[in-house]
């Protein structure tokens, strides 16, 4: 399958677009373990770095929106990405793509889960996949952090380091961190630029 070039999503290629959206979210959901923050870097790699369908800032915005909403963050993020790229049907396709793999996997696993959990080879394969997932995340994290540093905005840098310390060491509830950033953003727009936020 030929990859579409930057911003060249032709209308007559709509079905191809939906197919790519579906297969991308399907594969990502099928091989990625753990919380939304693990799946999202891999989505970023696919939709921002490989397909060039969303720019990095917009992707981070969408993640922030997905994070601030209740529910499964991966599904939220898939929905937003699908909607952003291909409207309502795009959102439906990406949600379906990210929900199907766990639904099928767990349905099968739960039928004979004793044998599954105790199987050493299964464990070894899963451990190997986890190492691979870690590698992909390292790559994404490194690039994202480097870009924040490159911006040379003292406040952004402060927020990034502060938020990291707050979640990783102090283990503050993520909701509080998000709320703090929202307040900080509102205050900044009120005082620093002198703009009112109507």
């Amino acid at each position: 399958m030929k990859k579409p070039h930057k911003g060249m999503i032709c209308l007559d290629r709509k079905s191809k677009l939906y197919l790519t959206l579906f297969t991308s979210t399907f594969y990502i959901s099928a091989v990625t373990f753990g919380s939304g923050y693990v799946i999202i870097p891999i989505m970023k790699k696919r939709f921002v770095d490989e397909l060039n369908w969303i720019d990095e800032d917009e992707m981070l915005n969408l993640i922030a929106v997905a994070q601030s909403s209740p529910g499964v963050m991966t599904v939220n993020a898939s929905l937003l990405i699908g909607y952003r790229i291909a409207g309502r049907f795009g959102a439906f396709v990406t949600v379906l793509g990210s929900v199907l793999p766990p639904l099928v996997t767990i349905s099968i696993v739960s039928m004979f889960y004793d044998a599954f959990c105790d199987n050493a080879v299964v464990r070894a394969v899963l451990m190997g996949m986890q190492a691979g997932v870690s590698a992909v995340i390292s790559d994404v994290v490194f690039k994202l952090a480097a870009n924040v540093v490159k911006e040379k905005q003292a406040l952004s840098l402060f927020v990034m380091i502060g938020a990291f310390i707050a979640t990783f060491y102090i283990k503050i509830n993520v909701v509080l961190i998000i709320m703090f950033c929202i307040i900080l953003g509102v205050l900044k727009s009120l005082f620093v630029k002198g703009e009112s936020g109507n």
Partner: protein, 187 residues
């Protein structure tokens, strides 16, 4: 009746879980063990193990697992649908406002503050996953006995391959799994 109860329980879990899968675990336990008695506490521990061992979001994994145990595949479908419905409605509403107002100065400023925080959250989760992959469930320690050397080698090789050759990341993950299995079979 079971199907409806499954849908309703996971609808609530989907609605009230903010902040990702691990934050939802107490909520899931409350609904499944305490309120509905679908699983014993032991069964819940199994559920946590399986959801962590298998790919996919924790909430969906739990929903499918509990649904299967209670009412077979229709149950799995009902509970999974339940935990996806409410967030999808809410996110659609928020998305509508996001796409409509994202150019407003105040919204732009808020998003500019949220972006570095999101990077920090991803970093934090990423480090936890790396620690889990290399040191296992015991967490980071200086004792080299806990280090899984196969994982270290796979991790280093995967980072190198991704950065140097820009290989497809899903291919890399699957290869790591296969190599892990093969190495185990021959050792």
């Amino acid at each position: 009746m079971d199907l409806l109860m499954l849908f309703w329980s996971f609808f609530q879990i989907g609605l009230f879980s903010i902040g990702g899968g691990y934050a939802a675990l107490p909520l899931i336990k409350n609904q499944i063990v305490d309120i509905n008695g679908w699983l014993s506490l032991d069964g819940f521990a199994d559920l946590v193990t399986i959801t962590e061992m298998t790919p996919g979001p924790i909430i969906i994994n739990s929903a499918t697992f509990v649904g299967m145990q209670v009412a077979g595949f229709p149950g799995a479908l009902a509970s999974t649908l339940g935990c996806v419905t409410s967030p999808c409605i809410i996110v659609s509403i928020i998305a509508y406002f996001y796409f409509k107002y994202k150019e407003l100065p105040v919204v732009k400023s808020v998003l500019a503050m949220l972006r570095p925080a999101v990077v920090a959250l991803i970093t934090s989760a990423g480090i936890s996953i790396i620690v889990l992959a290399i040191w296992g469930e015991h967490g980071f320690s200086l004792n080299t006995g806990n280090i899984n050397f196969i994982s270290v080698v796979l991790y280093a090789a995967a980072v190198f391959v991704i950065r140097k050759f820009k290989l497809n990341h899903i291919l890399v993950i699957i290869c790591c799994g296969v190599i892990g299995g093969v190495v185990h079979a021959f050792s």
